[in-house]
Symmetry: D3
Subunit: 243 residues, 6 copies
């Protein structure tokens, strides 16, 4: 199968890193296609970034569709434009926050989210609320490490991340840790070696759920909310959506 | 004061209609500046439209800011990109759904939302959930009238809208009706004459809340979630956001 | 328009202070009529006070109605007898807690309530729950300053209030502060000068919402829960309600 | 023990009827003291009635306290002024709605509330929400029988009540019926003979809970929210509360 | 009446202790029948114990039914197998956690649960959620005293329990304490003497609710969810349930 | 990997049918080990059945653990004894209802549950509540087809099932259907051919999630709520758990 992983921000390095993580975990016959938008912010760290990146990402969904993707992954922890992407796609579309919450809650009674900037905490809380996982989350903790600093993480930043995970475990009672940024994928093994609880990376979780849905022949329902976008004129930089 | 009303879709006719409604209800010293994005869909009727229009709308917020707007109104019932707009703005930013729910719940114990396409029902339900008004809403009813058909509404479509309002009152126990589309602004008086309950138009409600916040010197908090967007590189069609 | 502000307690000094605050913020053509009940407690600091004051306040609603009030404000942060007042009135009736929550949640992602006695905390929490704002509130904090001590506030009490606001901001993540007592109206400017977030006074908020509803010709729905009270015999000190 | 049953409305006939019902079900050594306020409405059928009756009822709590009551029952289904009564009392204070919900949810998975006027439905829903029983209630149904018509109920009204109970069972899946008015106490046996599910009368339920709490030596906590009312001046018709 | 108290664990000493507590509080004509399962764990301290003990307990419900019990009490704070027991029984079945929450919430605005092992905290939280009492609970606190250590409690363990109750009162604002283990029944008087708030023991609470339901002729509804178990073949160690 | 599928009821035919379904969907290197308890009911159709089957199922978890299972599936839609099983196991344990809800909510905005007997509806609603999916479910519908009648389903029963699915789609707005019984696994393809929305079988969903967790090296957290059961004496038919 073909799994399109879209990094909604425009950091090609980050896209490549997450594609590498995804390929390590994917089944042999799962082809990972990594997509980076041609437009938008270098990283997603506030609602503004998320809206802009969300709009840019939809072009990639369309490209993935044309390339015959069997599943699309929106690889930013805010799950930006997920409902819109589902309208556009026929194949399943999976958000990495959603994927991480779903797997974390099967291996731990309460899971923590450990994320980057404090600014992104409300976004995570909003998703916990939207997906119905608030009561299963011991809390969202921020490290205030900028997203792009994750690529070549400094020892001090890594320690800060690990210590925040430990605080989630010891102070909040977390029994599993969800990493709240796609850029943390490469740190899973290192954290797993040091921490006594399961560590869940959303990118890897989403790859597995993409394979799962595909093997079950489950596609996005096109009869209701996720039906194809209504045809209509688009202008300006969105003229390509004109139908 | 200067109130910027942004119609997030690209129908100039609709922008003008809602600006006219707004001017009728605005205080004498409130200047209504109407903005239409240069990019995006002609109407907003699904999540896809909302994401694209949301991104395009942010340019207008920036323009409004540069023009010295004292308040910004996002005049689409899905309140698209509202949090992002608040990050960008210093003045208050008001969504018309939020405004309508807030006023409706002061004049009726339970209010209904009567909207356009069935496809937009989940968006309204999401906002009721997000803002905490679900328990005060008797239900969201769709008329399946397309947004653009509201501009020069046919008698049969108007009757359908009125009948759906009546059903909300008689079957669901609604004590007030929130009109679920900015394009319905011009129909308020006509509906009010025929229906026994308060009719709330979000555009008018937002104008009043904009004036209220301004007179109270209340601006968007810039210390937390609504702080200015994080500076970073943007590329492609969003290069103008590069900071 | 005529806006009746009812101070549900019997402290005429407090009524005058809040009327003065209201007049400062009201539009030029808004006439503020201040009402103090002839019966009841000097201040409202527990459920007992609230019930008694609530019953006494209804007489004032009736008077306001007879004086042609276009809106009634119940100026005690517990919003006592608000539903009953709406049954009695034709014009809109606005509670100051409700008004403050509604405006605060438009300028900050999470707001705090900073109130007087610890005893009143459950009342605020009840209203947050009733109106659906619990998830938008970072917490209710009490200062244990008695209501009547606010009239001529001691420096130490003022400092305590300011420090509690700072704690709400720094420890709880509040991005806006709702002052949890009508008696704090006069302190808004002073607090605003010292604190980095919007400060919302319910009395001022209610005045603006009263003007908003009036300008929109929105009155209390009389078809359902807020229909006129059922006619029936009343005896004793409530004989005047006999119908 | 002495159980004070307060009928918060001023219908002495109704007080006597509920006292008779209570005596039938009370333990031999439980003395039922029936109290009727000297002030207030003949029946309680809307929020206005409830506020006025609530204030008047507090005098009876005080009298009951002076008479050495070991428990107080607020015998109106809206549980008016319950928190205020608990502040005033040292003995337990029990609302009949609260009592009925608590017992009903032990004998049926979902219970219905069948009440008098449609106007009182929001009051019941508010209590279900406040006490946390909303998810255990199959729905609140109104019969539109006025409270005072229950005293000498017409066959047609009785049939209407029974049919509404049947509809709750057959259409809503109710497995127990809570009678939503103290005035329905005398109809329990008749309904029980005709209906296949447990019928719960709040007055009887409250008598049993009063005896239960007394036998367990459980009194109202006076350390927090239910602490004694704060001492302060009261004027006018509430001067007797001056402390 | 005959009240069957089932200790779902197999500690006969604990059964006897709780039966003794129950007899002290029962009405003179309430006969307490104490039952201990012949199968299962010596104590219930995790979900595993609860499932096994729950299945074993059902035999005792059946025995109690055959002995003519007028009410059954499931005397373990996790209320194990309560719904199943209600299906089996015709008389009411009462869980001690449910009973304790119901009485506690009538005498204090917020109650705490103080329990044994940290491992049992999620079970209590689950019940608070299931019964709808989460918003009325100031928190669940564990003492990490093993259940069986309660029988002959060491002074240090007692002090730990009392201190945890004090922390619930002083730090969490608890106005009543629910003891989260049937094995704590014998400590009620001692704690009550030292603590300023009502102390609720679930066993005693359940005895009173059993008497209450019986005196009100309320039995388990057999028309829906609590109808008799569906007849079917059972094999192996559950062959006795074959019908 | 080795995936243990436990049919918690004692119908070997049903175990074989679901194992066959599982093998069809499993990856080539996933070995499906099917387990049937030696004790308990032939089918699970009420809370009583669930408790008894839950206790019996734990023996199978232990056997699976000894056989080196890399994941355990509890293949009954009530997810009986899931938390207890997680305490016992080191490998992940997956309930089929949980698995189905998790996948369904990624392909449809709202999903329906279509189940067997009406008696099982509360169990499904309880799980939706427990897992946080209530707001994503359009409703639970019962067909009143007994579980064992699914093995060799009559045309009329099949039609009833399909019609109930259609009603969920057309009347309730379901965009995906979750089959509410492990015994419906074999009907997925037939239903999928006739219905316009995704059909989710919990057994197949759980197989995929088992493979996903295993490939991600995620095991049950043993540090908190899912830690190993506390060692203690067990007697009678549970003596084998004595530790």
């Amino acid at each position: 199968m073909r799994i399109q992983i879209i990094n909604p921000n425009t950091s090609v390095g980050m896209t490549e890193a997450m594609a590498a993580s995804a390929r390590l975990i994917a089944l042999p016959n799962s082809e990972i296609i990594a997509s980076t938008p041609e437009h938008g912010p270098r990283s997603i760290e506030c609602a503004f970034d998320e809206v802009v990146a969300g709009a840019a990402m939809l072009d990639q969904i369309q490209k993935g569709k044309e390339m015959g993707a069997d599943a699309h992954i929106v690889a930013c922890f805010g799950d930006p434009a997920l409902d819109a992407a589902r309208e556009l796609a026929d194949a399943p579309v999976i958000g990495i926050a959603e994927a991480a919450f779903k797997l974390a809650s099967m291996v731990g009674h309460k899971f923590a989210v450990v994320t980057t900037l404090s600014r992104t905490v409300p976004a995570s809380e909003h998703l916990l609320h939207k997906y119905g996982y608030k009561h299963l989350c011991s809390g969202v903790r921020a490290t205030d490490i900028p997203v792009l600093a994750l690529e070549h993480i400094e020892p001090s930043a890594y320690n800060q991340l690990r210590d925040e995970c430990l605080a989630a475990i010891n102070e909040d009672g977390a029994e599993a840790i969800v990493l709240g940024c796609a850029g943390m994928s490469a740190l899973v093994d290192r954290l797993r070696a040091e921490l006594p609880v399961p560590i869940i990376d959303g990118v890897a979780a989403a790859v597995k759920l993409a394979e799962s849905l595909h093997q079950l022949s489950l596609k996005t329902a096109k009869t209701g909310q996720y039906g194809a976008p209504v045809n209509k004129p688009f202008i300006g930089r969105y003229e390509h959506w004109n139908r």
